[in-house]
Subunit: 613 residues, 2 copies
Amino acid sequence: MNYSSTFIPTLREVPADAVIASHRLMFRSGMIRKLANGLFAYLPLGLRSFRKVEQIVREEMDAIGALEMKPTVVLPGEIWKESGRWDAMGEGMLRAKNRLDNDFVISPTAEEAFTAIVRDELSSYRQLPLTLYQINTKFRDEIRPRYGVMRGREFVMKDAYSWHGNDESLDETYQAMGRAYRRIFKRCGLTVIPVKADSGAMGGSGSEEFMVESDIGDNTLILCANGDYAANVEKAGCAPDYEVQPSPESAVIPPIEKIDTPDVKTIDELCAFLKTKPQTFIKTLIYRAANVELDLSAAPCAQGEPGCKNLERKKGDTAVYPEVFCAVALRGDLDVNEAKLAALLKAGEVSLAADADVIRLTNAPVGFAGPVGLNSLPVIVDHSVTAMNDAVTGALAKDLHYRHVAYGRDFSGWMTGDIRTVKAGDRCPLCGGGLYEKKGNELGHIFKLGYKYTRSMKVSYLDENGKSQMPTMGCYGIGLDRALASVIEEHHDEAGIVWPASVAPYHVIIVPIKYDGAVKAACDRLAADFEKAGIEVLLDDRDERPGVKFNDADLTGIPWRVVVGDKGLAQSPAQVEIKRRGEQETRMVELDKAAQELELKVKEALAELDGEL
Amino acid sequence: MNYSSTFIPTLREVPADAVIASHRLMFRSGMIRKLANGLFAYLPLGLRSFRKVEQIVREEMDAIGALEMKPTVVLPGEIWKESGRWDAMGEGMLRAKNRLDNDFVISPTAEEAFTAIVRDELSSYRQLPLTLYQINTKFRDEIRPRYGVMRGREFVMKDAYSWHGNDESLDETYQAMGRAYRRIFKRCGLTVIPVKADSGAMGGSGSEEFMVESDIGDNTLILCANGDYAANVEKAGCAPDYEVQPSPESAVIPPIEKIDTPDVKTIDELCAFLKTKPQTFIKTLIYRAANVELDLSAAPCAQGEPGCKNLERKKGDTAVYPEVFCAVALRGDLDVNEAKLAALLKAGEVSLAADADVIRLTNAPVGFAGPVGLNSLPVIVDHSVTAMNDAVTGALAKDLHYRHVAYGRDFSGWMTGDIRTVKAGDRCPLCGGGLYEKKGNELGHIFKLGYKYTRSMKVSYLDENGKSQMPTMGCYGIGLDRALASVIEEHHDEAGIVWPASVAPYHVIIVPIKYDGAVKAACDRLAADFEKAGIEVLLDDRDERPGVKFNDADLTGIPWRVVVGDKGLAQSPAQVEIKRRGEQETRMVELDKAAQELELKVKEALAELDGEL
């Protein structure tokens, strides 16, 4: 392809809102243009790279037996009402009504569409397992779209869905997807961190997120310095840290004792008052939880409180408590991880209770809650507290605290669980190594959905014994635009993009010093030779200064640059200059051997990216 | 691919709304499923054929230098307001508002999006001509979506747009597109009728529609029996038909004469009264035209009528008359073609005037209008009238007509033009041959847009002399879903689809009589041989009766069927049966030579479709 025959409007300047490298470079290199906030058009150069990511994803999906199909982008509102997500998806889902008052959804994801189709066609266990996927347009109305295609409103997602007769089969596909995802990212030249993730609004359990490190990432990752642990902070655990306990277990702990703490409410004030550290306190917080699925029938409940007794059938076929209050006890230096708390309670949402509720439920002013004698609501005890045997905590009365409090002796709560926020400096739950934090962006997510959609949308099949069964489901997504932008985040320098060969828009760029006479003839022949060898080549035939052409070659990041000039051609045999993007070294090679040599190099580079994990 | 590893839910029954062959067969063969009225999902088998059409379109666009890009499907409302089409597109365009009250459009077409991008990047004449295209999702809210993907709400369109410095350049690209379209349809195995078309709501002039014959077509085509003329009835012309004139030109025509015609208003009544034929009458109709661009400054206009004097700037930068009345005179046996009348007046819309307006403007009761002495509004004379020299027409007064009326002697009107509806039996404007009618469906449309969008969206570039100029535009669409359905309409029989090799989901289907033992081994080897040769093969490994498998092979329409059974394998050398879909003949060929022979046949079939036009 000749440069002048394509449409690559490169730029020196970038808009002020392009704050990350990929946004800046995609814009400057003429890969994308903005149509509106969060809506980007791929220009020809950008589309070439985009299609390569798409093709890599497609090949790896096909390789594990997933079957591509194509539902519509505009989906009927009815199926979203059936699944219950018409309400649950909130304002991030773009809806439209036509002249006949039909409700439509611009697909943000497609569990409903795929499930609706499979429901009608699934009859026998012999059709299972079944994995279907699409690579198609999605729309999510980000409130603050930014960072170019990294967080746009419209994007393309590969979303796959699988149906299974049993958990083992689901796990097999889930594992195969995990391997396919690792291969996809490797082939794109991406370094991903696979992490355990909270599966969030999607429901279900058993999930893995594929993250790339990013300063502007939405997610906080907890990683072990020894490399054996990685988790989203929303789900991260850590090793118990008994060494920070105030007293050795063997010591004799004095009996619990009530002490006056006039005007002392915060942990800092207590520390100053008692001349000790936050690690010796048991912090107790009152939470309100909505749509709780956990069985609370045996939990304590205050007289007259609707709370745990008020079980309702609300979400599809699942019994939930619409509103429940609970107390959470954890060590004074730690924070509650609300995502983990919500997961423990199987709650739709958790938030700190209002002051009025705290006062009513603890029968004390705010600041004096404590687990000892708290019988009006379920107390959830974090694992950090179970090792505390000489602690200070609120005494459920104004200006009073307890000291010498021991878990198991003075209180035990209603249940124990891991609800603390893990942070840098905590210890790895696997090896005890030091944990550190990174910001990350999610590129892909695989998870076991279970029966969420097959139950709400009433999917069934006949098993080996002719009995009707409900299949279990998995769900697997990759954001293509974000993956492409992440490749650039990982592979660029001051001068521009440094494409991995697999997703480069072209493999080779030919830069004539001046596209004329013998140089033109040599360039044209070289380009023809490359094309014959299956090498994608861009010939910069523009009437521009060599400096402009070199800058654009660096900016667009094409892996190999071939410079053709009169001087080199005048040698015997004629020579051209070859340079790998991202390296400083240039080399002169014989004109007649250049195509053959670069063909080999391109194939080697592709093979390396395509190689074993 | 093994049949049991894919997802091809074939059916015996079809829904009652599947009234045309392609809808029925796409449904029965498991190519598509309905998600909602007008919304269809392509299942894996359907998507394979769909992608082949897509790839053929892409190759032919690339071959003429068009550059693929990808704007969003969800477009910002702003650019539609800029072009003026936010209002003009009406309710067929699906709109959505997000939480921030931003207006969005689900792309029904993309003139605005492409023009907005080019506007920002176009600076110099050296960038022209430029042709960009996308193959992407479109949505049009058909009031009555039907016939499956032939007329769905969501569909995929290839839409290309070109920009040019002058009309010659536009014409070059327009002609190249026309050739590319012919190649696309030929490669798909489609017989198209290229017709001159009214470019309708898209604006501009110079356009060609690519039609396929269809009983359920939206369009009426006028075709010449000699094969040299084809036009959409909305634009069709015909040869003048002087032979139906009442008097030879050489005869002496008596002077015009007023006659009493008491209670005679309709042409039928006049015929009975005067004992003559409708061909001798001049029918005069009063029309109301809206948003007229034609220069009417010199046209007659009644005292006190705003009409033609009321020129307003309304549509972008174009001067229009918001409302104009005119009279139309044509031979009594003919009908006015309102599309042609609108095109002649460059009007947004034309419709018959209300009775009150007719009475006011003609100063006579309804039924007595005539062109003689009609000076209160512009009279447009159809070509059919210009040859009439002894006609009857209304005398602009109750119960009075004129006879012996001669065009040019007794009246001449304000302008002449071709505004009659051509119909079967009229004569070809090129060769005089008999014209006949057909119903057709539009698969593609190419047209010269002119300055419509570059003017309203203010696109400019600097020409060779550094002077700012506005580029002219072309616009070129193909509906992919409709093209695919039309292939099936043209290639099917009682038993199912009969795919042309180029768009068949697979080239070869292997049907084992029983997939077991030596038959299984032979089938597996044969499938591997096909795949090695680049032949796409489906192996029906299901545990079904041979009859079921034969039926599904016919239904899915795969071009070559290879049947492998014990009997054939027992021969020496081992034999398999080969059959071409759509033919009756079966042939036994050596197992060892089957792959090689079919490879040759597939390649021959593809080459034939790909051959010269």
